[in-house]
């Protein structure tokens, strides 16, 4: 069938176009996704706790705000600041960085994390100026920054006392009743002052300013560009998981692995199956007998238990897993190709070619394989979903390759880290849905291809 003819027929199939569209979307996201995700370094740091430190833990997706009455502050990074440089009378340079934070929500973020890089011994103060005019001193320390170090201040972790002092400025008695270990500083800093601030804090909405004041006592000491990370109550497109990882990033990274596993697995599977099928059917004899016995053996071996056992014992990498899956899956295309080759072998044009003196390889490569090629593509597309699911299944029970970020891996961590119990639906549903979606798109594509390209009884 010629390309033009093929496209004409293909474009008429709705399922084919849907499948193709989805697959293209997946491929694009797979290739460029790394650039789109908010966390660029995620693929290498997926299991690096420090990388995700500033994220909120188990935060729902940001868009859930649309469905709740009390909207939580979403995660964001404040990287724009105003810098004021001044010099004290005694020659000490003072650098003041001001960050503006607009808080227009009902519930405050989980944390504010201030990072100040720099070098030397730098006394630093950080203050939070509230819209109601009150100002809280969050931090005052002389920070020892070795070469290229960074000072990290987490409001939740470090500013409990500062919160109590803020309250004390208005209500002494209340402040005395507060226990630094038990309060949430953010709940205080972002709430209206008043007696109910502990039991029922009301959000103080408006512009907040975070000021960082650094004293550079010596010309060798310096501070670099600070940043403020708002660790939101809601976060990102798909929220965060119990290890503070952005789920959306994980899903997008998973596309790459799914495509890789699916396409590589299906390509190898089909190539092996087609090659063996042609060889067995064309050459016949002992080779045929051997390969058919091999086919029968492999066909009847159950894949999943074998995978499970092997993974449990040998803890293989993803590549070995794919190889094992391929070693089982080639039987699918083998049988069909075997039958087709037997048929094509009897065609008059093959006979004519033999009469001319063609050797067997010429016939296989020039006459038989080209006829099988279109079917092979359909076969490839159709095996992708199953291969993806196999990998996911193996990962799910904890036997997959833990170094990769696949949807199966995400699902596994979700289940083992209590996503279901804790109702973290944004962690559990997306990977499963994605597996289904990718499987569906390849199934659509494969079915459409199959309908158009599948060999009819005659080869013409």
């Amino acid at each position: 069938m010629r390309i033009g003819e093929f496209w004409g027929e293909f474009s008429k199939t709705r399922t084919g176009l849907v499948g193709l569209g989805l697959m293209l979307a997946f491929v694009l996201l797979g290739v460029f996704g790394g650039l789109l995700v908010p966390f660029r370094g995620a693929s290498t740091h997926w299991r690096d706790i420090d990388y995700w430190r500033d994220n909120p833990l188990a935060a729902p997706p940001a868009w859930t705000n649309a469905f709740v009455a009390e909207k939580g502050a979403p995660s964001s990074v404040l990287d724009r600041f105003k810098l004021e440089k001044a010099t004290r009378d005694d020659g000490v340079a003072i650098e003041t960085f001001s960050f503006d934070y607009r808080f227009a929500y009902d519930r405050p973020p989980r944390d504010l994390v201030v990072r100040v890089p720099g070098s030397g011994l730098v006394p630093m103060t950080m203050t939070l100026e509230r819209p109601d005019g009150l100002s809280a001193e969050l931090y005052r320390e002389q920070v020892d920054l070795s070469e290229g170090g960074e000072n990290r201040v987490s409001v939740t972790r470090d500013c409990a006392r500062a919160a109590i002092e803020l309250v004390r400025s208005r209500d002494e008695a209340l402040a005395d009743s507060m226990n630094a270990d038990l309060i949430e500083p953010v709940d205080v800093f972002f709430a209206k002052m008043g007696p109910g601030i502990l039991e029922a804090p009301a959000a103080l909405k408006g512009h907040y300013e975070i000021k960082i004041r650094a004293l550079l006592v010596s010309p060798e000491f310096s501070v670099g560009k600070p940043s403020v990370v708002v660790s939101g109550r809601v976060s990102g497109i798909l929220g965060t998981d119990a290890a503070k990882r952005d789920v959306f990033t994980g899903i997008v990274l998973g596309i790459r692995w799914a495509l890789m596993i699916g396409l590589l697995g299906s390509a190898v599977t089909v190539v092996v199956g087609v090659f063996l099928g042609i060889v067995a059917a064309y050459f016949g004899g002992v080779l045929d007998w051997l390969l058919t016995r091999l086919y029968e053996l492999v066909y009847f071996l159950p894949v999943l238990p074998f995978l499970i056992v092997t993974s449990a014992i040998f803890k293989p990498s993803i590549w070995v897993l794919i190889a094992i899956i391929c070693a089982f899956f080639w039987t699918g295309s083998f049988k069909t190709v075997y039958g087709m080759t037997l048929q094509i072998r009897e065609e008059t044009f093959v006979e004519a070619s033999r009469a001319l003196g063609s050797g067997p390889w010429r016939i296989v490569l020039r006459h038989i394989a080209p006829i099988l090629l279109p079917y092979s593509f359909a076969s490839m597309a159709l095996s992708v979903p199953a291969i993806i699911v196999y990998e996911a299944s193996v990962s799910l029970i904890g036997l997959g390759d833990a170094t990769i970020v696949s949807w199966g891996q995400i699902l596994e961590s979700a289940l083992t880290q209590g996503a279901v119990i804790n109702g973290l639906w944004w962690w559990v549903l997306p990977p499963g849905l994605m597996i289904a979606l990718m499987g569906m798109s390849f199934a659509f594509l494969g079915t459409a291809l199959d309908k158009i390209l599948h060999p009819k009884l005659r080869t013409r």
């Binding site: 006979e351 070619s353 009469a355 003196g357 063609s358 050797g359 013409r460």
Partner: protein
């Protein structure tokens, strides 16, 4: 043996078949089918031999044997003194260059995914003729002109399904010519083509045959076309030759009862036959080749058979003179009665 240009054997004989036999084993050894059961004949340069017979007579098998698509069970085939060698060797290729085949189904004999130029190129590539693409295309163009498929450029890029049956058969002929063979085996080349186009192809084959002094084995069930095309005719029955001779001799003066029956059975486009019965020509139908009758294999159907025909061993071909041979023990009595 070196693959030099074709050399006719003694007396200009290009093809010599001796005691050729082919037995097929079917149904896991329980059935033995003797498709070809001892055939000998020779073909001269520039001669057309028609192999005529009904279904099951082995004519297609003989074609495949000569083409080395299947191996004989016994006997030998020599083309210009070449006996074929093991598959794929230089002897094998040397043999195949000299013998080419035109198949019955003009569409099925070409890979539908090949363009015409690829169809014509294949033999050149196999036999390593024409070192560059241009050389090969020139050779392809030449044979296309020989079969009158012009303008050549119009057809080279087409696929077989874009051509009519007659055109495809021309391309098939071109494919046989491109290696400059000595012998062409044509297996029912026009039976799947429309009547009004048949003559075109037959005429073309005759023209090419004359111009290039090719030898033809023309296999058919239609003895009328054999009359038109062949110089000599061999009548086959159940894997053996019953009668062979010049076409005048065999058709106008048949000797063997089977030949007589065949000729009587042919319909002619003449008026007034609708109310005339032909009467019985032969009894029953062709027996299976797995159970060939004893004695003369035709005796079960022969209208002239007597006891001796089933009891005595099968008659060998007897020469009546002038190259007219037949295998009937009682031919004199038959000639009197008929």
């Amino acid at each position: 043996m070196s693959d030099s240009s074709p050399s006719p054997g003694p007396g200009g004989i290009v093809l010599e078949v001796r005691d050729l036999a082919k037995e097929f084993v079917a149904r896991k050894g329980r059935e033995r089918v003797r498709a070809v059961d001892g055939m000998s004949f020779s073909l001269r340069r520039g001669e057309i031999l028609g192999l005529v017979g009904e279904s099951g007579c082995g004519k297609t098998t003989i074609g495949k044997l000569i083409m080395r698509l299947i191996e004989p069970s016994s006997g030998s085939i020599e083309v210009e003194g070449f006996r074929s060698g093991p598959r794929g060797g230089s002897g094998d290729l040397a043999y195949r260059r000299r013998v080419q085949m035109v198949f019955q189904d003009p569409y099925a004999s070409m890979n539908p995914h090949f363009r015409i130029r690829e169809v014509l190129e294949e033999p050149l590539l196999i036999h390593r003729l024409g070192k560059t693409r241009r050389e090969r295309m020139a050779m392809a163009a030449r044979v296309m002109e020989e079969v009158k498929m012009t303008p050549v450029a119009d057809y080279l890029d087409r696929y077989p399904h874009m051509l009519s049956g007659g055109q495809r058969q021309r391309i098939a002929m071109a494919r046989t010519l491109i290696l400059r063979p000595s012998v062409i085996v044509a297996d029912e080349p026009v039976s799947m083509i429309d009547l009004s186009t048949r003559a075109e192809i037959l005429r073309l084959m005759k023209t090419i045959q004359e111009e290039m002094e090719l030898s033809f084995i023309y296999i058919t069930h239609d003895i009328s076309t054999a009359r038109y095309f062949a110089d000599r005719i061999a009548v086959m029955y159940l894997g053996r030759i019953m009668e062979i001779g010049s076409q005048d001799e065999v058709i106008d003066r048949p000797v063997h009862p089977y030949t007589r029956a065949l000729i009587e059975a042919v319909c002619e486009p003449v008026a007034g036959r609708a109310r005339i019965a032909r009467g019985p020509l032969a009894k029953g139908e062709i027996p299976s080749a797995s159970d060939i009758p004893r004695g003369c294999r035709f005796h079960t159907r022969c209208m002239f058979a007597e006891e001796e025909c089933s009891v005595l061993p099968e008659p060998e071909l007897e020469d009546l003179g002038g190259g007219h041979l037949h295998a009937c023990r009682r031919w004199r009595e038959v000639a009197e009665r008929a």
